[in-house]
Amino acid sequence: MSDYIVEMRNITKRFPGIVANDNVSIQIKKGEIYALLGENGAGKSTLMSMLFGMYEPDEGEIYIRGEKTQIESPNHATKLNIGMVHQHFKLVSNYTIAENIIMGMEPMKKALGFIPMVDIKKANKEIAELSKRYGLEVNPEDVIEDVNVSIRQRVEILKMLYREAEILIFDEPTAILTPQEIQFLLDIIRGLRDSGKTIIIITHKLDEIKQIADRCAILNRGRLIDVLDVKTTDTKTMANMMVGREVNFKTDKKDPVFGEEVLKVDNITVKNKDGLPVVKNVSFSVRAGEVLAIAGVSGNGQIEIADAITGILNVDSGKIYLNGNDITDKTVRQRIDAGIDYIPEDRNAVGMVMDFTLAENLALKSYYNEPFSIRGILNRPAFDSYGNKLIEKYDIRSSQGNPTIVRTMSGGNQQKAIIGREIEHESTFMIFVQPTRGLDIGAIENIHRQIIEERDKGQAILLISLELDEVMNLADTIAVIYSGEIQTIADAKNLTLDQVGQFMMGVGSDE
């Protein structure tokens, strides 16, 4: 009776303290690419988790191919030909690609005619054929830990295809990919659609939706806002609906007022663990009231520059000065106390102690000073009052406030906490590395505004980002790094996006 392959009717799902989905209904046609758009915490993943059998809805019904179905487990979903690529891959790292794909559905043979064993040769052959058929080239015999994330994602996709999935769910598939890899993936997804599969893609990246999706459902705080035809809707409208208010892609900013030179990096070279130089004779300086952005493709030495300035890595040669003082041989804490703030790329590993509470994390750079610690003994009330102040000021949302374990918080709120902590810390110089990675538009806009605010207050700011848009939007001065060497440093006004892109590839130097 129904021409929809998937119908979710009036779905409501509650978690303690939150309504993740509130009376959401979506209908998906066979053979279309259907996007679920929404900010972090809008309820996209929860909705799809229910379709994949990981949770059961509190209210509402799910129809698959017109039939009312209760999906009890991911196993059951697989039997209904539903497959899902999770944000966090579920792969066995010391197994080959083929072994990972066949696990649970192993082709068998009989050793000596009667002992059942896994037929790995047959598996390798089958996977090679499968990967060719869908253009997802992989070598079945490669071990997972030796291949990059893009290949791993292909393995996850092949896993679904091996199980003959007809309905493919992708949860934020492009978050971890480089631009080229993203294009490749989008092509694959289109190819899958053309071969008759139905695709559901969860994302908050508008341009990707624009590129591939046929229709797009917009969720905000658990509610379905609208379902749009992608062709006839512009990204600006989508963004506004997703965030629930007017969004500015371009951050308003005044002309910069440059002050004294705050940070000076003088001819530094940094070597990696293997003794190879990853930062080569790099020099630059950042003035008060200036945003200097280092643009570059990932892995060209930019993270090492940040780590050298903050003291996490030692420089092999060269000097670093902060406000005219040589800090090259200072410890990390001495540098913090001298006035360096650091918003690191890896929130979980470097930015926070994940199993500490929010209040403790907010005081992470000052806990050893009064009033947080008096004669070496921690003063809990000071943590709490300071925590309350920052939570309020930076709108950090969590389930319980101060005592919340930060691991349970969303990425956007973790980042708010880190940025709040660093801004509050007394400093003259701030490093932001990939400050908006993995965040949604609303949060990105907010962070960009804060960066500009800090600049206008007279902070010297070093921004390291892989997002070219972010660099172009915020920087007063742009340095482009390639292979550990600065290719150019110029006033942002004098560089176009294309030029920066050229320098990033190491081919822009002939003027």
């Binding site: 991911p74 966090h88 579920k90 066995v92 197994y95 072994e99 696990m103 649970g104 064993m117 896994v118």
Partner: protein, 320 residues
């Protein structure tokens, strides 16, 4: 020379089967420090069964009794391992603590039971079950080959059984569906779960295998080392087996190599004491050789080796 090989194997092979048990458990993700306790409890059940059978039917041959004792030891080991499985898999207890507790529990419990049973059933105030000496096998023909022949000389029947089990275990772990699931469970249980396979069940079987193998090993030690069961069975062989499987990088073949080294170090040490005509108290010095070797090898091996990634991590569906 021959006696070094013969005695070395008698020690190395039970150690090896116990280490294999540890490999099964740990490759599935369950840390198993309980090997010591499992082998002790297995030896207790086996020895108790042997003494009972010997009393009930005195005509039965010692070899048949030993075979039955081994079966009972396996059952005892499996039963005792269920405690570890219950704590680590079902109740999400810390695996290291569970293992250590089981070792202490096993030692106290079997010591108590042995005294109780001896006093109650056999009317003998003793803290050990005495086992009958069994025949050993010498393979005709090949045992005449110089040096290598010693491998086939004066074999306990359990040594042959261990060799057969080892081949089966190797096949099970690396070539079958279950083995594949087991190893996946120790690397990324989420992946296994996503493939529709029950992680808890996979781990439960793995722990039971470790119980069976350890129980078997304990019985072998009871026969070969003291011809009896008493609390002297708890001298740390379980920990040496763990050391062996770590040196063997959680793989069966290299672990066999490590067990051989331990076995020959021990038997070679005894030989040395005899050859140098040292006073017998120096035998005790030799007893520490495997442990010293453990320490030395640890220094060299621990850097290179890699434990299963999910080893010791309680499987929690929700965690990422």
């Amino acid at each position: 020379m021959n006696s070094i090989i013969i005695d070395g194997l008698v020690f190395a092979l039970p150690l090896f089967i116990m280490a294999m048990g540890g490999i099964f458990s740990e490759r599935s993700g369950v840390t198993n420090l309980a090997l010591e306790g499992l082998q002790g409890f297995g030896a207790f059940t086996g020895a108790f069964a042997a003494v009972m059978i010997g009393t009930v039917s005195p005509d039965m041959s010692p070899t048949a009794i030993m075979l039955l004792a081994l079966v009972f030891a396996v059952v005892g080991g499996v039963l005792f391992s269920l405690i570890h499985a219950l704590l680590c898999i079902k109740l999400n207890a810390d695996m290291v603590i569970s293992g250590v507790v089981i070792n202490i529990l096993s030692m106290a419990f079997t010591e108590f039971l042995t005294k109780l049973i001896n006093a109650g059933i056999f009317n003998m105030p003793s803290n050990k079950f005495v086992l009958t000496v069994t025949d050993k096998i010498t393979v005709p023909g090949i045992s005449k080959i110089p040096i290598l022949g010693a491998v086939f000389t004066n074999l306990y029947i359990f040594e042959i059984i261990i060799a057969v089990i080892a081949v089966v275990a190797w096949f099970l772990l690396y070539k079958t569906k279950y083995g594949m699931h087991l190893r996946a469970s120790g690397d990324n249980p989420h992946a296994l779960d996503a493939a529709g396979i029950n992680v808890a069940k996979t781990r439960l079987f793995a722990v039971m295998i470790s119980g069976a193998f350890s129980g078997f090993a304990g019985m072998c030690f009871a026969y070969s080392i003291s011809s009896s069961f008493s609390s002297t069975i708890y001298v740390g062989y379980g920990y040496i087996a763990i050391a062996a499987l770590i040196f063997g990088n959680w793989n069966i073949l290299p672990t066999f190599g490590a067990c051989l080294i331990f076995g020959f170090a021990r038997s070679g040490g005894y030989k040395l004491v005899q050859a140098l005509e040292m006073p017998s108290s120096y035998q005790d010095l030799v007893m520490i050789l495997p442990y010293v070797l453990t320490l030395v090898l640890l220094i060299f091996f621990s850097k290179r080796n890699r434990a299963p990634r999910a080893l010791g991590v309680i499987y929690d569906k929700g965690a990422r």
